[in-house]
């Protein structure tokens, strides 16, 4: 039972990892996962206003519900091209 959480770019540097797991019983929506991980990695807090969320490879809002088996990505605004 887990939600796979991915970090990219500056958020991966801050978390010190590119991937972690969250127990789905402890969270309800995307922002609750962010809140939980911000307690674990306090430096994430300063990204609260700019972080983008992707749930199963699609952009998602903070209130999107999460469930067991989901892949949730946290990342900064994109800068490719």
């Amino acid at each position: 039972m887990s939600i796979r959480v991915l970090f990219f770019a500056s958020l991966a540097d801050i978390a010190g990892t590119r991937e972690t797991q969250v127990d789905p019983a402890t969270v309800t929506d995307v922002v609750s996962v962010f809140n939980k991980l911000a307690r674990q990695y306090p430096s994430l807090e300063k990204y609260r206003s700019s972080v983008l969320f992707a749930l199963n490879s699609e952009f998602a809002g903070a209130e999107s519900p999460v469930q067991d088996g989901d892949e949730l990505a946290f990342f900064p605004p994109v800068s490719g091209g």
Binding site: L6, F8, A9, S10, A12, D13, S50, A54, S57, E58, F59, A73, F75, P76, P77, V78, S79, G80, G81
Partner: protein, 136 residues
């Protein structure tokens, strides 16, 4: 045609593989690594991506370009990893019967890549490195 690659992109090969006899215009765009960011000298770049989502978003751009512009085909190749100054990070090739839609679709593709495709660049300077967040 959509690709994420880690080696040098040969834009001529991409264009040759796309072009067909019915095309009257082939527009080629190369995004290249610049030696400065604002006034700061840049030594090199590294690109990171959320690859499955980046491919999905590039495919969306490909299908929107084909639907919204009168083009025959489009190819988008984005390179990831380390890139030196002058190297090409992004190639877009658009083939169509006439030049107007080809230019327009190419502009749409690069502008949309910079907004919705989860790829990030890190700039390396003499005195440090910074992840770039968002594009102007």
């Amino acid at each position: 045609m959509i690709r994420l690659v880690r080696d040098v992109i040969d834009i001529r090969k991409v264009a040759d593989s796309l072009q067909k006899p019915e095309d009257g215009a082939v527009v080629l765009f190369e995004g290249v690594v610049r030696n400065h960011s604002q006034d700061k000298p840049v030594r090199f770049l590294e690109y990171d991506a959320y690859e499955p989502m980046a491919l999905k978003k590039l495919e969306e751009i490909e299908s929107r370009a084909k639907k919204e512009f009168e083009i025959r085909d489009i190819a988008i190749v984005h390179r990831l990893g380390h890139m030196d100054i002058g190297e090409c990070s992004t190639v877009i090739v658009v083939a169509s019967a006439h030049r107007g839609p080809a230019f327009d679709a190419c502009r749409f593709a690069i502008d949309t890549i910079k907004k919705i495709v989860p790829i990030w660049k890190k700039e390396f300077y003499e005195d440090g490195e910074v992840w770039i967040e968002g594009t102007p």
